[in-house]
Symmetry: C2
Subunit: 437 residues, 2 copies
């Protein structure tokens, strides 16, 4: 893609309404545009990043055997009355009356709807376990939406639901999701800590939130550094090994401030390993057994032919929120560097262009074509602007690798730079193989 | 995927509420499930097909240089008041009040919102032309939703918008989309006819709808058969050639019943070439110049520095509707056969299984693994059911290729069947290469 053709409305001014750096950066680089309070359009640059995150989430859900489907955004109020949450949910639920006066709502979550689908489809324990998920827009009518995509009204979320015969079986599903979440965040280049959590309005008695480290995070975190030493590769994808994985994580101290007690922290964690930092919640998983299946009469036949309420859990990842969270974790000292796995482009070519000299641009175009042939997704900055401005701009756009066509590049070698690092002179072949890895 | 694990609630009964065959089939094979009037959940089988259609639409939009983005589902009423459509739109618009009493709406289309984004982002003719699109859920509060996903309330649509300096330039964008649409439908295995159309509530003076042939279609069509002789491969992707393409199509008679005159039909089309059939609208494109940009003050500087309203068109494809339309076009004599490009699976393995004989199932599992290694997406019917029932079921699921492991398969060759065709005995290698093509 040529930068001059990309629909990327970059603004030089720091947007005054944006209080945190992800919100600022996303507005400045034209990743998003607010359409009304707490509601955003995703412009091509932001959209590309979000889609890459979505795809990684999807792959890791599929890996554990979850099946993708899609529930609608607009739901009938009836199922929410069945579960008892219609009145409980409060004003954050966007309530709607259709032209015939029927009470509808814009789904803030989908426990009721998936239970409704399940009860009409599955009747026997033989079809269990089941893991279903969808990635769909949700709406919460926040009274004070803020921080851009981090706390907005319309947001993109992956929510999964597990169905099992017994509490014991259900915990196996829970552990699979636990594993899937950690792998997902790892692939996104994020350091995520699973923490035992309260269940809140979703309900149930077992819950973890996944918090990534970011200085500007909303939650204060106290943890033992050793939590990052646990290597997911040491576990196999079977029930026993996944149980051990969750046990291993549970044994290492990690809490948010509502559960923090100084004495306990000092007692359980060696001084050198004590980590006090901030974090952002990016995922939350719940096991709530028959909280929805019982009032909604979602029954299955067990092995003895006896009807029993199916045991359920739900598992959420904020896909749109992760775009902001990744920026919070990676945008430092005025330089944003996207993790390779979700960068909007693999590399950017930055030629030094002047009115009298189009040679560098031509050279850049040749390299551009060569890299495209290798399926490397390249951005070519063909804008007529001085190099110092260009570099500042690309510090914000955040493509991790730059090929600079200017005075330093000689006939054979090109100036190649990884953001936050020094540049080096490399042949195009070497650059190709670096980018392919 | 093993059929026993797939979340596919197949029902044997013909659903009484479904009047047309796509609606019946989608309910019977568990592709969708109604959650309330005109609102559906997409279960894994239906979801897979829709995603494949979406991806083809996307690729053909990207090919012509359109950039993907994503606008939210909930819009502010203010921009609709600016354009003057807020009052015009009537009761099909789902109007919403948020908790602070602000008038919002669930977008039925996006001309206003894209114009709002564009006017704040682009100021100069130098950034033109621009083609932007998104694939997003829309809502129209139909008074009588019917025919399943064909006329529902919440539907998935690709809508694109073009921005040009002049009417002449804008027609070039229009022709690109015209080309993209025909290529899209071709890849979906559909015979689509572009027809000059009225512009309706979108406005403007140039419009085409794309209608695919299906006996159960809602529109009566009168056309010259020669329209199917036009070969898209004869045109190049440049302005001149695309203009010729549209001219060539325009010269061949094709109208819906509102424009049909018997005399004219007999006059213009030879008896042998006269085609009277039914069709389903699956796409609609509009050129409306400054209908939105003028009232919404979306101005750009032209070459002389003079401000002028940008010239716009809009281009819609009903992605969820195409799932139903493809069924209407392909489901005949109780057999559904998906076009290869969007089939939920590339092939299905159907072993004859009995309680005392698991040999066929084991054989099937081996083949399953072999095909998976070749990146062939296979369904394995491991359900313990007699073969006659299995075949009936797979006539509905519609995977185009079957590998049957029963009495006919000998040690070396396997029974291979293309739906609607006779089976033949082929080696696994031959089957692999057939499926890979």
């Amino acid at each position: 893609m040529y930068l001059s053709k990309l629909f990327i409305p970059i603004t030089k001014d720091l947007p005054t309404e944006a209080k945190i750096k992800s919100h600022q950066l996303m507005l400045r680089t034209g990743m998003i545009k607010q359409s009304s309070a707490g509601i955003y359009s995703w412009l091509p640059l932001g959209f590309k990043v979000m889609k890459k995150i979505e795809q990684i989430v999807r792959e890791e859900q599929n890996f554990i055997g979850a099946q993708e489907m899609l529930m609608p955004t607009i739901q009938s109020s009836e199922i929410w009355k069945e579960s008892g949450r219609y009145d409980d949910y409060g004003e954050e639920m966007l309530r709607i009356k259709d032209r015939q006066g029927r009470e509808m709502l814009y789904g803030p979550t989908n426990e009721e709807l998936i239970t409704d689908i399940f009860r009409s489809s599955v009747k026997s324990y033989k079809s269990l376990p089941q893991l279903l998920y969808h990635i769909q827009w949700k709406f919460r009518d926040e009274i004070r939406p803020r921080f851009g995509v981090m706390r907005c009204k319309e947001f993109y979320m992956k929510d999964a639901y597990s169905f099992d015969l017994s509490d014991d079986e259900a915990k196996k599903s829970y552990n699979k999701m636990f594993f899937s979440y950690l792998k997902t965040f790892q692939r996104l280049g994020l350091k995520a800590i699973p923490m035992a959590a309260d269940t809140g309005p979703i309900g149930g008695d077992l819950s973890h939130e996944f918090v990534i480290l970011a200085e500007t995070g909303e939650s204060q975190i106290y943890a033992d550094k050793n939590i990052f030493e646990i290597d997911l590769n040491n576990y196999k994808f079977n029930d026993q090994s996944l149980k051990k994985m969750r046990d291993d994580f549970s044994q290492i101290y990690a809490v948010t401030d509502d559960k923090y007690k100084e004495e306990e922290f000092n007692d359980k964690v060696k001084k050198d390993n004590q980590m006090k930092t901030k974090g952002i919640e990016v995922g939350h998983i719940f096991y709530f057994s028959d909280k929805y299946s019982k009032p909604m009469n979602c029954l299955i036949d067990d092995k003895d032919g006896k009807k029993t309420s199916v045991k359920m859990g739900s598992y959420g990842i904020g896909v749109s929120r992760l775009v902001g969270a990744t920026i919070e974790a990676n945008y430092n000292n005025d330089v944003m560097k996207w993790p390779k796995s979700i960068s909007p482009f693999d590399a950017v070519i930055i030629p030094s262009i002047s009115k009298n000299n189009k040679e560098n641009l031509e050279k850049a175009e040749k390299i551009y074509k060569e890299l495209q042939k290798q399926n490397i997704d390249v951005l070519l900055d063909d804008v007529d602007e001085n190099m110092s401005n260009k570099f500042k701009k690309h510090d914000l756009i955040g493509v991790p690798y730059q090929i600079i066509i200017g005075s330093k590049s000689d006939g054979i070698n090109l100036e190649f730079k990884e953001l936050n690092d020094k540049s080096e002179l490399l042949s195009l072949d070497k650059i190709k193989s670096k980018l392919k890895n």
